[in-house]
């Protein structure tokens, strides 16, 4: 440890200068230029050389000396970035729109967005579909061979996993729900809704192989 007074006339040894650069870079809120270093270090110091040594010293360490524009900073090594993330998982109930959309997909797959909207009677927000894709409960099925070739949605393995189903066909239909007393035994108003049993009338309902489709494009819009 040299006395600062001495340093006014003679620059501290290089090892000492290196310590100084290290401390300054460490404590600074922003990258520091060589010029600024020189201004803060004792007269006659050579911050550029000290930086050179310091950079060497930190090679392969958990922290690196990096140059940002004209200035220098200490940063954690990029390969250790994973240590800086800490995930807290929060469980939330799925929104009504999402669960309804999911249910329609499960019961009607493969189903297009327009069909979902028709069934729900309201438009399906992109966010809702994205959320279900993100949860990996739905994925893209084959494009429908109708004009516009709209994408279809189907449920995934992890959907079945999560809901404890062997297959989506195991979902009880409306009749069964009603018979089981899970629904009020009231006829649907107007009776215009056809009672659809899963797996009943959609011909290509549960095909083994789902075209992977262009999931990427959709995923990119994820928050």
């Amino acid at each position: 440890m040299d006395e600062p007074e001495e340093s006014l006339f003679q620059a501290p040894p290089m090892g000492e200068q290196e310590r100084m650069v290290e401390a300054i870079l460490f404590a600074s809120a922003a990258p520091v230029s060589v010029r600024e270093l020189a201004g803060r270090m004792p007269h006659g110091s050579d911050p550029a050389e000290a930086l050179h040594h310091l950079r060497k010293r930190y090679e392969g360490r958990g922290v690196r000396v990096v140059k940002i524009g004209d200035a220098w900073a200490l940063r954690t090594a990029p390969d250790l970035g994973f240590l800086m993330q800490r995930e807290t998982v929060e469980m939330r109930k799925l929104s009504r729109a999402a669960i309804e959309t999911l249910a329609i997909i499960a019961y009607h797959q493969p189903v297009t967005r327009a069909e979902i909207e028709e069934i729900r009677g309201v438009s399906v927000s992109r966010g809702t579909v994205d959320q279900l894709l993100d949860l990996e409960w739905i994925k893209l099925g084959r494009r429908r061979l109708t004009p516009g070739r709209p994408v279809t949605f189907i449920v995934t393995e992890s959907f079945l996993d999560h809901f404890g189903l062997e297959s989506a066909r195991d979902l009880p239909g409306l009749k069964e729900l009603r018979q089981a007393g899970l629904l009020d035994n009231r006829p649907p108003p107007g009776g215009d809704l056809e009672e659809l049993e899963p797996g009943e009338e959609e011909p290509d309902l549960f095909e083994e192989d789902d075209a992977p489709a262009d999931s990427v494009g959709v995923m990119d819009n994820e928050a």
């Binding site: 799925l94 009231r186 649907p188 659809l196």
Partner: protein, 267 residues
């Protein structure tokens, strides 16, 4: 030494110092602080300080303040009264009639308090004189801290799913069957709770129907439920050895009574 002597001896110097101190009486952190300052004028180690002399110094100070019509805070006056008491204890021969601590004990404690306050002042100075964060040494300037990504995961169960489906397909409201009937079912737990409280009083054979809660014996549906659960509860209590059950013949009333001593049952 006598009281008169000591006052004479100290009056000149003390009155002068009292006068000096009064100027900045507001600067003192209370009577103990003032005493500590006064004690320094004795120029001896705190351990060897004369508490008697200190008491006199203090009293002189208060006296002077009175002369100058300077109003002292109440705690200074409380301390003055206490020191006057201490002084009399120190000067008068101990009264065997009076219990409580002796003057010496009180003086020793005051000396301890002064020494302790001084010690705390000394260490606070040492503490504040240490190398300090943000002045002498520094933490990391850029907080690169952990990005606390809060991942929200959504969950739903199969009932949610079916309910949602039913909702979209019908105007029916989906609901589990049992909710409506809850009101007219007496659970076995309820019956058991009730019986545990009552059974101690059942010395004689009593029809279990007598144990139905009043409000459950009217409505047939409720009555049925209450009978069933009460009967189940008696079986449970019998198993625990708390009561005995008998039925004289088929379809006759089922009777219970508390089980008294070990082995006295006949049911």
């Amino acid at each position: 030494m006598s009281e008169g002597e000591s006052i004479l001896e100290t009056s000149v110097a003390e009155r002068l110092s009292a006068e000096a101190l009064i100027v900045d009486v507001d600067g003192f952190e209370g009577p103990l602080d003032l005493l500590l300052t006064l004690s320094r004028t004795q120029k001896v180690d705190l351990l060897k300080i004369s508490i008697l002399q200190l008491a006199e110094q203090y009293l002189a100070f208060v006296e002077k303040a009175k002369e100058l019509r300077i109003e002292l805070a109440a705690d200074y006056l409380v301390m003055a009264a206490w020191l006057a008491f201490l002084k009399s204890r120190l000067l008068l021969p101990p009264d065997p009639e009076e219990d409580g601590p002796s003057g010496e004990e009180l003086a020793a404690h005051l000396a301890f308090q002064l020494e302790r306050l001084q010690a705390m002042r000394d260490v606070s100075a040492r503490l504040m004189g240490r190398d300090r964060l943000g002045r002498d040494f520094f933490a990391r300037g850029i907080v690169e801290d952990v990005t606390r990504s809060r991942r929200v995961t959504y969950t739903a169960n199969i009932l949610d799913l079916m309910q949602a489906y039913a909702r979209t397909r019908t105007k029916d409201e989906f609901r589990p069957l049992s909710i409506d009937v809850r009101d007219s079912i007496l659970t076995m737990e309820q019956a058991l709770d009730r019986l545990r409280g009552l059974i101690g009083f059942a010395g004689d054979w009593t029809d279990i129907m007598a144990y139905l809660p009043d409000e459950w014996s009217g409505d047939p549906q409720k009555r049925r439920s209450a009978t069933a659960s009460t009967f189940a509860a008696t079986l449970e209590l019998a198993k625990e050895g708390k009561l005995e059950i008998r039925q004289q013949e088929s379809f006759a009333a089922i009777e219970v009574r508390a089980r008294r001593a070990k082995g006295s049952g006949d049911g």
